[in-house]
């Protein structure tokens, strides 16, 4: 295990858990569509993307457990923490809403992660870089798929355009948190593991501007950003999500497949 020497384990563990929680929670949200999608191809696509995200989360949790060195594994992190210990950004926990909400959330998250994974793949931590190297390509598929839906709905019928515009308005306050900087992101950047998220803002803006212009969508007005997820403060939706996610492990502690 090649942990960059210049970083303390607690900081790296926190950073890995933030990334892992983003991917687990968004993967869980997508999995809620399984069996409910509007058409068969989407019923395949959303669980497929969920598998990618949960697979990335598993690799990150396993590595976080190694770095932390206190014997916690992926199931402990995924199922046996309390709400305030989850460090995901708020966007990924927002309810699925309609198909427009789900696809816009997916598109925004992938448009953020794709350039960030690219940078992390070139970073100084070999394990994280290897996880990133595959995630870059997987997130590219997510951008394309979700982006196509943003365009199709935004530039679709009056009804679909109204719904996509509604999703933009509802989710816009959660974009800013993706790019937040604090002592953890700063230390990680100084160790050369991952640049500050803000450094990929221009790449994100370019991807979003391109898809929104094809979708005939207005870019959202600047709004007061919502935050707190990185410190474990969540929206009211999170408790319900965790109730379902954790149900089996809470009911049958230590259950394995």
């Amino acid at each position: 295990m090649a942990v960059a020497a210049e970083i303390d384990r607690a900081t790296l563990t926190t950073f890995l858990l933030r990334l892992a929680d983003d991917h687990l929670i968004l993967g869980h949200r997508l999995s809620e569509w399984c069996g409910h999608a509007p058409l068969l191809e989407e019923d395949l696509a959303m669980p497929n993307m969920a598998l990618d995200l949960i697979g990335q989360a598993r690799a990150l949790y396993q590595y976080a457990g190694e770095v932390e060195g206190r014997g916690r594994g992926e199931d402990d992190f995924a199922y046996l923490r309390r709400e305030r210990e989850y460090l995901n950004c708020l966007m990924v926990e927002r309810p699925n809403g309609d198909f427009a909400h789900t696809m816009l959330r997916q598109f925004w998250f992938a448009a953020f992660m794709h350039p960030w994974w690219e940078a992390i793949a070139k970073g100084s931590d070999a394990t994280l870089a290897a996880i990133a190297e595959k995630a870059v390509k997987e997130s590219a598929y997510h951008i394309r798929h979700a982006g196509e839906w943003v365009i199709r709905l935004g530039d679709g019928t009056e009804e679909s355009a109204r719904r996509m515009a509604g999703a933009v308005e509802a989710l816009a306050p959660y974009v800013g948190e993706l790019f937040e900087s604090d002592a953890v992101t700063l230390a990680i950047a100084e160790a050369g593991i991952a640049p500050e998220p803000m450094t990929v803002r221009s790449a994100f803006d370019r991807t979003v501007a391109q898809v929104f212009s094809e979708a005939m969508l207005e870019l959202p007005e600047p709004t007061w950003p919502q935050g707190g997820g990185r410190a474990g403060r969540h929206t009211e939706a999170m408790g319900y999500l965790l109730a379902e996610l954790q149900h089996m492990q809470r009911t049958y502690p230590g259950a394995v497949w």
């Binding site: 395949l44 190297e133 590219a140």
Partner: protein, 180 residues
């Protein structure tokens, strides 16, 4: 004199041990390499390029495997199958998961590509790091009739590694093994 003989004998024993060690490693590799992928059983772990090495270390056969797609549910099944195959062949197995360098579809062997096509799955395009290949702006040949007149039906197919295509020449639907 005596010590010289001793040395030669020692050398011979050492080289026998080394040769036996290499032969054992090769036998262990062969046992592990023949394990099929549970979802695409025409491919072995060696065809997929995910079996990095098998070496005998302190009497234990250590197989190093690289996962494919991050979300591939077969990863654990493959590890268990390789472990069972080594045990079957008389080895005490240990599986190590190696993440770096990350697997790409470019590691699928030529033989593996031919097997995929014969099985009815269009093999992945080369140069997985090219954006064109990733984004599917390439011609995927129909594995049934060979025509390049194909269209993508769905980005995501029956497993995380596949997309659904249709041949507009012979009208057959088929799976395409996506680039990664």
């Amino acid at each position: 004199m005596v010590s010289g003989l001793h040395t030669r004998g020692q050398d011979r024993r050492d080289s026998n041990v080394r040769r036996d060690g290499r032969a054992l490693s090769r036998r262990a590799y062969a046992a592990a390499a023949s394990v099929p992928d549970p979802e695409i059983p025409v491919l072995t772990v060696a065809d997929l390029g995910i079996l990095r090495s098998v070496e005998i270390e302190d009497g234990v056969a250590v197989a190093r495997l690289t996962p494919t797609y991050s979300g591939c549910p077969a990863t654990l099944a493959i590890e268990l199958a390789v472990e069972a195959a080594l045990r079957e062949a008389g080895f005490e197995p240990r599986i190590e998961r190696v993440l770096s360098p990350a697997w790409t579809t470019d590691w699928i062997t030529e033989g593996g590509r031919a097997k995929l096509a014969a099985y009815g799955i269009a093999p992945p395009q080369r140069a997985s790091n090219s954006v064109r290949a990733l984004f599917g702006e390439v011609q995927v040949a129909c594995p049934k009739c060979g025509s390049g007149e194909t269209e993508r039906i769905s980005e995501f197919g029956s497993t995380p590694c596949k997309a659904l295509y249709r041949c507009t020449a012979c009208r057959e639907p088929f799976d395409y093994f996506k680039c990664l």
